[in-house]
């Protein structure tokens, strides 16, 4: 008999609930602070709401870690109906606290219900890609043991790669997420940095993947790096790509050109992600990118 699995994920996954075809899943909303006031994703407080505040009011926004009790409550509420929980967590290299919270919840339910915490080494649409990859796995291989599932989830993590173009690295910097890409800040020459989260890198931190002077160059650079990664992994077709876009009107032309370019990649499915409020905290206006699952 196949296992009944419930998935928990934070709302920094670059996808809306409607884009995930799996009933037993709950998205936990990250607390977002603009000044002293806390907000959660809603119809009113969306990514575009924050981007507009960034552009017009020059506000500073931050997010806080997922709250332990909220995750524990989800497990408690559902544990009678499910055999296993999978908590898909943003990269511990970007937020050690988030992974610690997930581990504490796992400990709390030790001997009550098993929980797999998946350290995605990703953020935003990279997390979304791993969630969809795990759902595929559950649907296609329902009889895997917990150990086998854990191992398969790890393989999905190692085969997920994301590239991001941020107009302004200040948003990442303020949120303490900039990692080794800090070297790209403060250039005299106007440069467009290319950042990445590579599933096969141990640290799970944002790495500089290149820099260019025009969006056309940066778009070509992403496509070439994707092709190189496919070659490196001996993969001919991308299983799934999730795009990141829609943070205001900035860079509209560059994003449109990029979306055209990704259509040239051999890919089974391209999903245009819908980033939420917490994603916008770090992306800022005009951000875009792509996550691929090989």
């Amino acid at each position: 008999m196949s296992r009944k699995i419930f998935i928990i994920v934070g709302d920094n996954l670059g996808l809306s609930r409607q884009q995930i075809n799996y009933d037993a899943l709950e998205i936990v909303k990250f607390p977002v602070f603009v000044g002293e006031t806390e907000y959660r994703q809603s119809e009113e407080y969306s990514a575009s709401w924050l981007v507009s505040k960034y552009e017009n009011e020059k506000v500073v926004a931050k997010s806080s870690t997922l709250i332990h009790n909220e995750i524990a409550e989800i497990v408690e509420r559902n544990r009678a109906n499910y055999d296993l929980f999978i908590h898909v967590v943003m990269s511990s290299g970007l937020s050690a606290a988030s992974f610690r919270v997930a581990e504490n919840v796992k400990k709390q339910f030790e001997n009550i219900v098993p929980i797999i915490n998946v350290d995605t080494k990703q953020a935003i649409n990279g997390v979304g890609n791993i969630v969809l990859g795990i759902i595929d796995l559950i649907k296609t291989q329902p009889d895997l043991s917990i150990e086998e599932l854990e191992k398969a989830c790890q393989q999905i993590v190692e085969n997920t790669f994301s590239w991001f173009v941020f107009s302004d690295l200040e948003y990442l910097y303020r949120g303490g997420r900039i990692g080794k890409a800090q070297s790209l800040m403060g250039s005299v020459l106007h440069i467009i940095p290319l950042l990445g989260l590579m599933g096969d890198e141990k640290e799970g931190i944002i790495l500089a993947q290149g820099k260019a002077r025009t969006f056309r160059q940066i778009n070509d650079m992403i496509i070439n790096q994707i092709k190189a990664k496919m070659q490196e992994k001996s993969v001919t077709t991308i299983k799934r790509a999730i795009t990141l876009q829609g943070y205001g009107d900035k860079n509209k032309e560059a994003i449109a050109e990029f979306m055209e370019k990704i259509k040239t990649l051999p890919c089974n499915e391209i999903i245009h992600g819908e980033g939420g409020l917490v994603d916008a905290v770090y992306c800022g206006p005009g951000a875009y990118g792509i996550s691929i699952l090989l």
């Binding site: 005299v188 500089a208 290149g210 820099k211 002077r213 160059q217």
Partner: protein, 298 residues
């Protein structure tokens, strides 16, 4: 030097030894199936590579300067290396120095009017306290001095044979701090000519260009791919003509790097933007002395 070789044309170690043994000494060959790992001390590493390439595929190569290693070993000087690798740029213009520093160069020797001496270069290279250095300059006339300085300093110096500041920007745009020294060097070499550019200067005498273009004394002229391609008595008209001639469909950004002898001309960028509305224009201070402007097309 070390070099793994994959070949089906060589039957055994002795056959390979016979073919390359005369190039040097301390030859060690280890083999497994059709793969041979070769270690040899030689004064002609390139000749060895060429010879073995005839018989198969070189999987990778590694060349160390044994004379320098020996000299460093005997020397009483103690170098406390602080970094494994560094990027060292040698430029004339202060503006380019700032740009390159910001793009990640570890140190810049900004020489202004007078080309640097070998001593200055050695000092600059040693100051980096790096085991390996990638060095590149904005002028081919500095190359000889740089090569000599490299032989005198402690570090293993990999010289990128660049001859203009735009190539240095191109190098810095293409490399990453995370690369190892070999990848950094190869990437630098492969990306030297990524950015299309031309230089704008004013003629101090009558010149007849290769293609027959007559440049009168006092005229402005454009140098593209090391040739004079256009001239005009009006600087602004020349800039317009150059952009018309060189810009292609692939370009959407034109950058002007102002030389040390150019006065601020706020109207120039506005004029160019009006003339070419589909292009973006940016202007930076380069501080170079040889050209009034470097113009890049990206």
């Amino acid at each position: 030097m070390r070099q793994p070789l994959e070949t089906d044309q060589i039957k055994n170690k002795d056959e390979l030894k016979e073919k390359i043994g005369h190039y040097g000494d301390s030859l060690i060959i280890v083999n497994s199936n059709n793969k041979y790992k070769v270690h040899i001390h030689t004064n002609k590493p390139n000749d060895v590579f060429e010879e073995v390439s005839r018989y198969g595929t070189l999987l990778f190569t590694k060349v160390d300067d044994m004379k320098k290693q020996h000299k460093n070993f005997l020397s009483d000087d103690v170098v406390d290396y602080e970094r494994d690798k560094s990027i060292f740029c040698i430029v004339s213009g202060k503006g380019f120095a700032d740009i390159l520093k910001n793009l990640g160069a570890d140190d810049i020797l900004c020489y202004g009017k007078n080309k640097p001496s070998v001593n200055q270069l050695v000092k600059g290279l040693n100051n980096l306290k790096a085991k390996n250095v990638i060095a590149a300059s904005d002028d081919s006339d500095i190359l000889m001095a740089l090569k000599y300085a490299a032989s005198l300093c402690k570090a293993n110096v990999h010289i990128v044979e660049s001859d203009n500041p735009i190539s240095l920007i191109s190098i810095m745009m293409s490399i990453s701090k995370d690369y190892d020294i070999q990848t950094t060097f190869e990437t630098a070499m492969n990306n030297l000519e990524n950015i299309q550019f031309c230089g704008i200067a004013q003629s101090s005498r009558e010149v007849l260009a290769e293609d027959g273009t007559q440049v009168h004394k006092g005229d402005f002229f454009a140098v593209y791919k090391k040739k004079i391609v256009l001239s005009n008595p009006s600087k602004n008209q020349l800039l317009t003509n150059v952009i018309e001639k060189i810009v292609s469909n692939n370009n959407n950004l034109v950058t002007l790097y102002k030389g040390a002898n150019i006065k601020n001309d706020e109207q120039l960028i506005k004029l160019l933007k009006d003339k070419f509305p589909s292009l973006d224009f940016e202007e930076y201070y380069g501080g170079q002395l040889n050209y009034l402007y470097y113009i890049t097309f990206e």
